[in-house]
């Protein structure tokens, strides 16, 4: 259970404060309602590149990290398809430093040609490190492009190609900032050893004067239901054959969202999960296997990935996965197994709540979805799910015609 106070400034900035008197630290989380889904298809990767530029200085601050570190704190950020999230942890006494910095970069950036050039290079190296110079690194670009035909989820946050990042221009940066980096498109959460009565005036002091603007209307295409299976074979010098499967899942508001989360837990979380036990341990078809949902706000994916043992034939591996999925769609999960995944979920949430940064991030995300109060309904929602719900949702999701499959094959060198 996470208690918090909430208020909204006149400029539309939503503020949530979670007091945790047990710690001398404070966590600050500022979420902006803009992600890779808001990019132009010709300029992908821009939301993430922009996130880097947010650290390159604002009107009154030459460099973002310096004052935060001087205050004994640390900052970082991430971008995903849906939103961009900035966060700091610092000694609670120095909270005002973070408010000064975050409000200054919400107010006005100070980007020059040089910092743009440097961050373009940094992001290109990030792209290479994670998506090119890794075995299987290029599979995610292909899997998204195959799973989505219309929706901007068809490209990954890092960008579709290096050229999109290399071509970014200063004018794009200012335009993006003016359109998206606004108090009315942001959520500020403070959690930790602070008091609302002390913090609220400080937030008003630093953020109240920032003007709102309402030019952007998100209007994204809706992905059609997938009606035919999609297959692709990739070949490269990789250490083992691998299979990647993506099913069209639900959006974040669907009543079935939490059920899909439990489904992947039943499949692949913990040593006793079905896939780890049967496919890795008992049948030894795979050396590693995993299943998870992407958790996107719009229609997301349920992904299954596995690395095959050297003697496993691809058809056998694929059929073995399908047999587990078909079982989920036709047989009710036994009560004991239902109780197991619910207990695991309860423990997972319990451990997560011991961390002030997690609490701040999760509050911001729920508020972004529409209502922070939902955070405290998470556990009851998981606990209410019944075995028949799991079967029905499995039946809906695990359809052959709604599946995208990539075989990633080990290239045998020509002799």
């Amino acid at each position: 259970m996470i208690q918090y106070n909430r208020f909204c400034l006149d400029n539309g900035l939503r503020v949530l404060i979670h007091e945790d008197p047990s710690t001398p630290m404070a966590a600050v989380n500022l979420a902006y309602d803009v992600g890779a889904r808001d990019e132009s298809p010709q300029k992908t990767g821009f939301a993430h590149l922009f996130e880097h530029l947010m650290f390159s200085g604002s009107r009154n601050v030459p460099e973002f990290d310096y004052p935060i570190q001087l205050a004994g704190g640390e900052s970082n950020a991430f971008t995903n398809n849906d939103y961009t999230n900035y966060y700091e942890t610092l000694p609670a006494n120095n909270l005002e430093t973070a408010l000064w910095l975050e409000s200054d970069r919400m107010m006005a950036l100070n980007i020059n040609e040089r910092s743009l050039e440097v961050q373009k290079r940094v992001v290109c190296e990030e792209f290479k490190e994670h998506y090119i110079n890794q075995p299987y690194g290029d599979v995610w670009h292909k899997l998204r492009a195959l799973s989505y035909q219309k929706h901007p989820y068809r490209w990954p946050t890092i960008g579709k190609e290096l050229a999109h990042i290399e071509n970014a221009e200063l004018a794009d940066v200012q335009g993006f900032f003016d359109q998206h980096y606004l108090p009315n498109r942001a959520i500020l959460v403070i959690s930790g050893g602070i008091k609302t009565t002390r913090v609220e005036p400080l937030i008003r002091k630093w953020f109240e004067e920032i003007p709102a603007a309402y030019s952007y209307k998100r209007n994204l295409p809706i992905e059609d239901p997938q009606t035919a299976d999609r297959k692709m074979i990739m070949r490269a010098k990789v250490p083992a054959n691998a299979i990647y499967m993506a099913f069209q899942s639900t959006d974040r508001y669907s009543p079935h969202y939490y059920t899909t989360d439990l489904i992947t837990d039943i499949l692949a979380v913990g040593e006793s999960s079905r896939m780890k036990r049967i496919l890795v341990k008992e049948k030894q078809l795979f050396s590693e296997i995993d299943a998870y949902i992407t958790g996107d706000i719009h229609t997301g994916l349920l992904i299954i990935t596995g690395k095959l043992m050297p003697d496993t034939k691809m058809e056998v591996a694929e059929a073995a996965i399908w047999s587990i999925l078909e079982d989920m769609a036709s047989q009710k999960v036994p009560d004991q197994e239902m109780q197991k995944v619910k207990n695991k979920m309860e423990a997972h949430i319990g451990f997560s709540e011991t961390n002030i940064m997690n609490n701040a991030m999760n509050l911001a995300f729920y508020e972004l979805l529409g209502d922070a109060q939902e955070i405290n309904l998470e556990v009851p929602k998981y606990l209410q799910i019944e075995a028949e719900d799991v079967r029905k949702v499995s039946e809906q999701i695990f359809r052959r015609e709604a599946c995208t499959t990539i075989y990633y094959l080990k290239q045998v060198p020509l002799s």
Partner: protein, 427 residues
């Protein structure tokens, strides 16, 4: 409404009191030391058993990791499947970890289920079966995982680096290979387990929301005579190695980046220069505004990140600079790393920079001791080295007091390009 003056930074307070508080330590009936870290209101708890059974205690490479990995694969009373099902049923999580000096087996669970899961944890650490059949299965899976992960450019760079620092046969220097696993029998695992997993080599850490009743349960399962005492820890024998600085390249045409590793073997936190070097390392490559990151990422854009670290091991330690850089800038990156060494040797660190790094380090440590599970990690870093809270206090004092002259003295001793091993993979 008065507009704030944005040109002036808000006033700062340097964290004054960075303290671990009083240690909470007691012994079970059989003498096993237990550290209690009782913080937090969430009803979660972890119980961690640490044994002196890491790589440095091995008689054959791979024994430590594989013995640890096999603990959950069946015991006298439960099959692997039953263990997994019972642990998962109570929403618990058993994590096993084999490191260089120690291994650990930890259970994380909701407090209400502690009494249900401790018997399983007890089985796992006291009577694993190590059956031939289970070991055969595990071995082929593990071999395949090793093969998969060894293909990364950065893994190749790391493996070669540690071999050069400590020696390819040394516990700190070797990387697990399929050949090591093929050379281990189920009986080897049993023997290693017998020697190294018992109350005589164990230490416990109990963290989270901890009440007397929880500690009584811990004592009931791990403090009684039904867990045979075993002999004391014994001596470890480490293969000697003649360290030689050198430069090694692994050409890889297909790689679009180079993995750079630069470093040398050093000492651990018992050494008188360690705390000063900790601060020096921060300045060089330990945080975002460090010299290396400012130069090579934020000024030149050669990399997504570069950092340096000072790593303490129970019988040794090392210093390392690591980065993945654009292939065409690998040479220049190496030169810039050495340029930053020279600068620390030739110029005194300014007061401004020293204040920055001191404040950052103190805040960072304050964050590291925040919350039960973070604080546990810090306490392990003391007690497993035979150190205590007084050592931590001394560390904080030295972070506050080490001056620019001292940092320069340390840089002149330790940051010498010709003392380093340099590995560049993917050229």
């Amino acid at each position: 409404m008065n507009k704030p003056d944005r040109s002036v930074a808000p006033p700062l307070v340097v964290p004054e009191k960075v303290s671990l508080g009083k240690p909470d330590l007691f012994r079970l009936d059989n003498g096993i030391p237990v550290h209690v870290i009782n913080i937090g209101e969430q009803d979660v708890i972890s119980v961690e058993l640490i044994f002196k059974a890491g790589k440095t205690w091995e008689t054959k490479a791979g024994l430590a990791a594989m013995t640890n990995r096999m603990l959950r694969e069946g015991t006298g009373s439960y099959t692997a499947k039953q263990i997994a099902e019972r642990v998962d049923y109570f929403g618990a999580n058993i994590k096993t970890k084999a490191a260089s000096d120690n291994v650990s087996v930890t259970i994380y669970c909701l407090r209400k289920f502690l009494g249900e899961v401790l018997p399983i944890l007890k089985e796992v650490v006291s009577s694993p079966a190590f059956s031939e059949q289970d070991w055969d299965r595990m071995r082929s899976t593990m071999i395949q995982r090793i093969i998969i992960h060894s293909e990364k450019v950065e893994t190749k760079a790391n493996d070669l680096f540690y071999e050069q620092i400590f020696g390819a046969e040394h516990a700190y220097g070797y990387t697990l290979k399929p050949s090591h696993l093929l050379n281990i029998s189920a009986q080897d695992l049993k023997d290693f387990f017998q020697k190294r997993y018992h109350p005589g080599t164990a230490t416990l850490f109990v963290s989270g929301k901890v009440r007397q009743a929880d500690l009584a349960l811990v004592n009931q399962f791990f403090g009684q005579e039904d867990w045979p005492a075993g002999s004391a820890a014994g001596e470890r024998v480490l293969s000697p190695f003649d360290y030689q600085p050198k430069e090694l390249r692994i050409p890889m045409k297909s790689s679009v980046q180079s993995s750079i590793r630069v470093g040398l073997p050093l000492f651990n936190k018992h050494h008188k220069d360690y705390n000063g070097l900790y601060l020096l390392n921060m300045i060089l490559g330990g945080y975002f505004n460090s010299r290396l990151n400012s130069n090579i990422r934020e000024d030149k854009g050669y990399t997504y990140g570069i950092h340096s670290m000072l790593v303490s091991l129970q019988t040794s330690g090392y210093f390392l600079v690591a980065t993945e850089v654009a292939k065409e800038h690998a040479e220049d990156t190496l030169n810039e790393i050495f340029y930053e060494f020279e600068r620390l040797k030739n110029e005194l660190v300014s007061k401004e920079e020293l204040d920055l790094v001191r404040n950052f380090t103190l805040g960072n440590v304050l964050n590291q001791i925040n919350g039960a599970f973070n604080k546990t990690a810090i306490l392990k870093g003391l007690y497993l080295y035979g150190l205590d809270v007084a050592h931590f206090d001394h560390f904080i004092t030295q972070i506050k007091s080490t001056d620019a002259k001292e940092l320069q003295r340390l840089a002149r001793i330790y940051l010498n390009d010709d003392l380093m091993v340099k590995v560049i993979a993917g050229t």
